[in-house]
Amino acid sequence: MVEMGHFALVLALVLSLVQSLVPLYGAHKGDARLMAVGGPVTVTGFAMIGLSFTVLTIAYVQSDFSLVNVWENSHSLKPMIYKFTGTWGNHEGSMLLWVLILSFFGALVAAFGGNLPATLKANVLAVQGWIGTAFLLFILITSNPFARLVPAPIEGKDLNPILQDIGLAVHPPLLYLGYVGFSVCFSFAVAALIEGRIDAAWARWVRPWTLAAWVFLTGGISMGSYWAYYELGWGGFWFWDPVENASFMPWLAGTALLHSAIVMEKRSALKIWTLLLAILTFSLSLLGTFLVRSGVLTSVHAFASDPSRGVFILGILTVFIGGSLALFALRASSLTAGGIFHPISREGALVLNNLFLTTATATVLIGTLYPLVVEALFGEKISVGEPFFNLTFGPLMLPLLALVPFGPLLAWKRGDVAAVAQRLMFAFGAALLVVLVTFLFIDGASVFAALGSGLAAWLVLGALTDLALKAGIGNVAPKVALRRFLGLPRSVFGTALAHLGLGLTLLGIVGVLSFEKEAILVMKPGQVLEISSHRLRFEGLQPVRGPNFTEDQGRFSLLSPAGQPFAEIMSAKRFYPVRQMPTTEAGIKTIGLSQLYVSLGDETTDGSGSVVVRVWWKPLVTLIWGGTLVMMAGGFVSLMDRRLRVGAPAKRKATDKKPSPVAT
């Protein structure tokens, strides 16, 4: 059984080699039969990797400790869901998931790329094949999940307790769907460079792939953030940790790509830039994989002491990034730049968006890599942490966010800022009101808090204004406006939703950063804590036994003004004996959009049952992740847009003859 999975993986490598070479040669020679090999080989490769992954999953579920990988990362007493998700809760398994998703995307192109020009499709599949070959080799040579252990141990070493959480089921797959989804954009870009031209099919295809990858990556990052928030026990939602940055950089670049792809699709301008961004975005995904997988982040020396994996991925990184950029340098001049536009136009706004987003990406990149550079060059260790990013990334985001509502309202080709500003008067006035109200009426509101809330309101109202104007609300009869509203293209809704979600996320961040309340104290059983007009009573500590852990549960009651308990919060300290590791399980109670967050510390030694408690009131915190869900919904709605579903450029002749619903 296990050997079948191993064998399937080797077969997948062979298929991947065929996929890398045959369609490419076919496209070069113009041989339709050779090009047609690409599709079936890609789909079969996906099936082989799928089989291999299934076999590994079964080994985990059955606790087959004859596999080194299962033995090192599983335990027979582990709850079933974590046996399942534990498949990718380790280096080898997560790399297998990586190539599984890569081959999945390749298979999607093969299956649905029927309307692509044959040579483009063949080249795209070949480039996907190169990536697949590189990573399958990496897995088989340095990180084989099917390595055996003789004799097989009776019991496993258990999964890291922090990972024994539902977060592991959601976060890595979503994140990889995003990371690896950008490989399709990359393959399209490289294929276009090989062919030396960017045609209409290219432009139409790249945007939905970018959008889909972006939706997944947004979800992956957001779920990771919430996971860290409740699991790590001090309620932070973003740490500017290098591993987080590794996923944030492709997101920023991908967001830029998303916007420039719109210009390319609609106006066939910015072609070369979009191509470069597609290459850069996936390069950053690869860089992220390298940073996390090689161990280089812990220390340059840790990397040097066990370099096999790191060097291998570094090789992949160099070949793909260097190769694609060299190809770009060689071929870009032969591509035609299209579309002329005035600086003040929708295109101009999107260029500005790209300028800020790519600068922000570079800022995160240099902040992440600088300590490595300094250590390698000067042998000194420095840290680049949150204060650096607050001082650099923050100021870059402010103008970008302030300009967001203008973008969708500007006309293509040549826009009129004054007219747009006039249309945004209401949103601006309301945002100003929010600033004043926050500053004057909320206790302890700083200038930052007031301006931040105002900016968030500006984003939300700006998005709504866009929808209202396009539906003609206020200009035409309500009935007509409603019909127009429902008839708006879905991409318009998508844009508005995504920008609105951004505003909500910002509001959540501002809420927590400026109005958070914290209490650190020793609580005796029965003691009541008042925090931000909530009354919390500590009921006592109670030892409980779980399936593969023991825990001390601290019970708390929320009291009504009359002193009656109406809700319970349970916060625990767990201990996993196999790994000898403690974890905290924060007690979280959601009240409206805000949360009360309770974390337990050590018990006092005087025998009174008192315990150190840290309690936070986190106003509007749920909006941080709620906003990202709205952004994802925006991306999803936009993907459902007619022109993307149909695939081919919509022929308008048929519909033009009928009176449009707006005119009736």
Binding site: P242, D306, P387, F388, I520
Partner: protein
């Protein structure tokens, strides 16, 4: 050190070194709320040396606790914020600072965002200007006459 954890979850585990639960303990806190607030702000900018990318304010490691106590001792002794930071850097090195110093070695780090924004902005402006120059020139007299002739024919 081999990473055995999934890419993204790796950093979660990195914090494990720091143990779990609470960072600042009630017993460490200063009686003077102003001084304590200063201590909290300063400790957010100091790195826990044995953790990955975690400030001493958030960390539960013993070394972080030692640093928190040391920091508060200096504050009680009447040091200014800068004096406290200088003292801690002199003992633990620049690695302890989460905000890198403004010095020549870090110039590239601090300057990159601004340089890129200015450079990119200039490039965009220049290319917009050159693009405007490419805009089609007005029709010559002959062309205009030819066009008028065609239009007349249509009418």
């Amino acid at each position: 050190m081999k990473t055995k954890l999934p890419a993204i979850a790796g950093f979660l585990a990195a914090f494990l070194v720091a143990g779990t639960a609470l960072a600042v303990k009630p017993s460490e806190m200063l009686a003077d709320p102003k001084l304590e607030a200063r201590a909290r702000l300063l400790s957010e900018e100091l790195r826990c040396m044995v953790c990955q990318n975690q400030s001493i304010d958030e960390s539960d490691a013993e070394l972080a606790a030692d640093l928190r106590v040391l920091l508060r001792e200096r504050l009680v002794a009447g040091d200014s914020d800068e004096q406290v930071m200088d003292y801690i850097v002199s003992r633990y090195g620049e690695f302890v600072l989460l905000k890198p110093q403004f010095n020549l070695r870090n110039a590239l780090l601090w300057a990159t965002p601004l340089l890129l924004l200015l450079g990119g902005g200039t490039f965009v402006l220049l290319s917009a200007r050159s693009r405007r120059r490419q805009e089609p020139a007005a029709l010559s007299k002959d062309e205009q006459e030819a066009l008028d002739a065609i239009l007349r024919k249509d009418a």
